[in-house]
């Protein structure tokens, strides 16, 4: 009981510390400073892109992992989950050696062929964020697909619906709560991405300097801007948790 209390205090103190440092009077000014606005705009844009890409590619991947038997599935799942446990900065270095223009396995070819460079660009931020965020979506949706009642799909199929119709009209609505939860988790993870972003995409204000990077960079020069941005990220995280509480746990109960 006492140990549990220590743990709770341990989680609470940093939050109180952050809240105590906030200058509430100038909070709005700090959040609307040019650096903060650039960082917030970029973070929103890139994290939404990364969530959209995660849904596009992650849902089919989750479907394959949950439904299609194939050899080496355990290995594929391990690969997919790896970015969740990998230190993000290592992820950034790995991305550099895959998609970097000068040292990347395919980056140079992409640059020569399509005249497209990921590093030091918004697309690089999206790539780094997707790398760390998509696993959250895949794992959540796969769990949803495994726990759903497949008899509805079978019923639709016997009634003559094509596989695509079944997926669109039966499967997706049934896994909607997990899809929503997965997307929200992936979005929150993308929004908070730091290590892979700074390593792979760099730190250019207005182009690749997302909110977490701005927090780190301005902590020395403009601590109040850094604290205001931290508070914003904290508020977003809490909102995501509150939203997930209804959807996610509601889904668990009904399943």
């Amino acid at each position: 009981m006492l140990l549990a209390l220590v743990a709770v205090v341990f989680f609470t103190l940093p939050l109180l510390g952050l809240l105590g440092e906030v200058e509430w009077g100038s909070l709005w000014d700090n959040l609307t400073s040019q650096q903060a606005k650039d960082a917030i705009r970029l973070s929103v844009e890139c994290s939404l892109w990364s969530t959209a890409i995660s849904v596009c590619f992650g849902v089919p991947l989750a479907y394959v992992l949950a439904r299609v038997p194939f050899p080496g599935k355990a290995l594929v799942r391990a690969l997919v989950v790896l970015p969740m446990v990998l230190p993000p900065v290592v992820g950034g270095v790995a991305l550099l050696y895959a998609f970097g223009r000068t040292n990347g396995l395919v980056g140079g070819w992409i640059y020569d062929t399509f005249d497209w460079q990921f590093t030091f660009s918004k697309s690089g931020v999206v790539l780094a964020e997707t790398f760390v965020a998509m696993p959250f979506l895949v794992i959540t949706v796969e769990a949803g697909l495994r726990t759903m009642d497949r008899r509805y799909e079978d019923a639709a199929a016997t009634l003559g619906a094509s596989r695509l119709t079944v997926f669109r009209r039966v499967t997706v609505p049934l896994i909607a709560p997990s899809l929503f939860a997965g997307a929200a988790l992936a979005w929150a993870r993308a929004l908070g991405e730091f290590g892979a972003t700074i390593t792979f995409a760099g730190n250019i204000q207005g182009r690749t300097q997302t909110t977490p990077l701005a927090v780190y960079l301005y902590l020395e020069s403009q601590p109040q801007v850094a604290i205001a941005l931290s508070l914003l990220l904290l508020a977003v995280s809490i909102t995501v948790l509150v939203l997930l509480r209804d959807r996610w746990f509601g889904n668990v109960r009904s399943a």
Binding site: V93, T119, I204, Q205, L217, E220
Partner: protein, 264 residues
Amino acid sequence: MKRFMRWIATMAIIAAVAAVFVPGTAGAAKNKTTKLSGTITVSAAASLTEAFTKMGTDFQKANPGTTVTFNLAASSALVTQIQGGAPADVFASADGANMVKLVNGGQVTAEPTVFAMNELVIVTKPRNPLKIKSLADLAKVNVLSLCADTVPCGKYAQQAFTQAGVTIDPAKVTKGVDVKSTLAAVTTGDADAAVVYASDAKSAGTTVTAVKIPAWLNIYAIYPIAPLASSTNADLADAWVKYTVSPAGQKTLQSFGFLPPPGQ
């Protein structure tokens, strides 16, 4: 006469007590002869990484029983850590401004000593594919890597650009959190060029091509070092400070591309 003798005796006792208890007088002189031991943490500017690591090994070899560990980061980040109570015994900064913060805060126990200097240099991808010859040429690169504005190397670079009358589009500048990450944007990343210290360019070897900035346009970094009030091993901290200005320490620093302190 008897009273005088008693006065002498009293003074002698006071002197003896003072010698034992007051640090920095007779007591400190006595400690000089005692053998150095224990561990210190040296918080040092990131640009000192290679040189200090080598010097640490040499120092430990010369003084068995001592351990010198390093906390290497941007000088500005180190100051924030020390002000926040991070345990450190010595601070070696890449500029005067960050040392001043600790001096003014009373966190330094002795007058800082300048033990090295450094100059700025442009580094490019190997063989300089963009044919960069000067600071002005940096305006035409796609991505330029500079240290963040708070970090000494970032301040020096800004001074150099201002002095040379060169304006760089901020949308082309990626900011490194210290000089090593600024350099890494060119060595492992895709930045076309960076402005770093000559010592960093030297340690990067053939992974970059260094383009010299002429002396009249260059900015010279000074490196002050001082023992810290938070030190629990003042003798070893002092010894490290002295080692950095000793002939052996200077030889190593200069072999890593640092310049001798002014007046030497």
